[in-house]
Symmetry: C2
Subunit: 188 residues, 2 copies
DNA sequence: GGGCGCATGTAATGAGTTACATGATTGA
DNA sequence: TCAATCATGTAACTCATTACATGCGCCC
């Protein structure tokens, strides 16, 4: 009856554009390669899908942020290679500064459930939250296997680790409290 | 030329439905009051807009999760009062457990910029990040003024504070490193 | 010759937002 | 009487996603 879906992105279009501009700034690229690179190496930063990449490239070209020249190779579809324009460079600089200086508090989907946590029997609640914690731990474990990345991404990876550790501690503190309350045997 | 927009939600539709069901579970309500309550008291949990609330109520009624009875009061538009059905209760229980046990790593918009931070002169970078930190601090300051909430929300508020403090520390550590590198005078 | 990788897209759908539309009641 | 609040909604738009469509080149 229910459920599938889920999109936990808090990326806005600005950040996607910033990302694309930033990559094109380093070197000219066509959509396929760009998306491949993003999927392979920047999965932590973003979750930009292929049609979205093509769409944004198209749009940015129309806005004059990037220019296009086609490269034919046999009879394949021509590579539409994009290059940052001067306008694009300006936009990049602006978006970058805006991203670096702005802060917006995200709204955590977790919290919707937390607000009703008292509807679940405490033993089951603990079991559920332990499942959640296991997923966080799994993420952390996986991250320790990630080899040193280009300096670029080191900060991003650190941030992610920092965040996950925080969430783990937070969950732990809730579990401890729940545990204490069952041991005192005073809570429902 | 640019910029407006921004939606930093990581709430999926599931969580919105969970929220609405959870509220209707406590007492029957019509859309207007429901939205009012959400906007006033649950702004930390969600950012559900009015038309979205009406839309979801409609949809949930069609799915049989809630039922509707109208209350006329003079010649105003009738209040369409919704009540949780048995099916709705089942769905609520399921969504709640799913929310409590699942975890998905969010993707932070901040990180897109961080990845290109080395494009900004270090002094300016520090200035920008300090602006960001000021916004986090402001959020934290504002939270300390929030009086004790119903037990319900206490955890959510704690989570938010916990998260904001983490982000502040993380930013601080970056700023310290940047500062150290300028003092050594070895970085561009 | 069959399947994977390269390379492009389009179309349909979903979800949510903003802006607009309507009209009664209440209080200054 | 005029503005704010109560109470409902619709319409148009934006953004992103999934699924589909096409076809060449290369390797086993």
């Amino acid at each position: 009856m229910l459920i599938v879906n889920v999109d936990y992105s808090i990326l806005s279009i600005m950040d996607r554009e910033l990302l694309l501009l930033g990559l094109l700034r380093r070197r000219d690229m066509h959509g396929y390669k760009l998306h491949e690179f993003i999927e392979r190496d920047l999965a932590i930063c973003t979750d930009l899908k292929k049609p979205t990449a093509y769409f944004l490239l198209d749009k940015m070209e129309k806005q004059g942020w990037i220019s296009r020249h086609d490269e034919q190779d046999g009879k394949r579809p021509a590579r539409r290679v994009y290059r940052l324009t001067d306008t694009g460079e300006e936009v990049f600089q602006r978006l970058l500064r805006q991203n670096l200086s702005d802060y917006h508090v995200p709204i955590f989907s977790t919290d919707a459930g937390l607000a009703f946590a008292d509807e679940v029997p405490i033993a089951e609640l603990m079991r559920l939250l332990e499942q959640k914690r296991a997923q966080i731990d799994a993420e952390l474990a996986q991250m320790s296997h990630v080899p040193d990345h280009a300096g670029l991404l080191q900060l991003v990876i650190e941030h992610r680790r920092h965040y996950l550790e925080t969430e783990a501690r937070w969950l732990e503190s809730i579990l401890n409290r729940l545990n204490a309350s069952t041991e005192r045997g005073t809570e429902s």
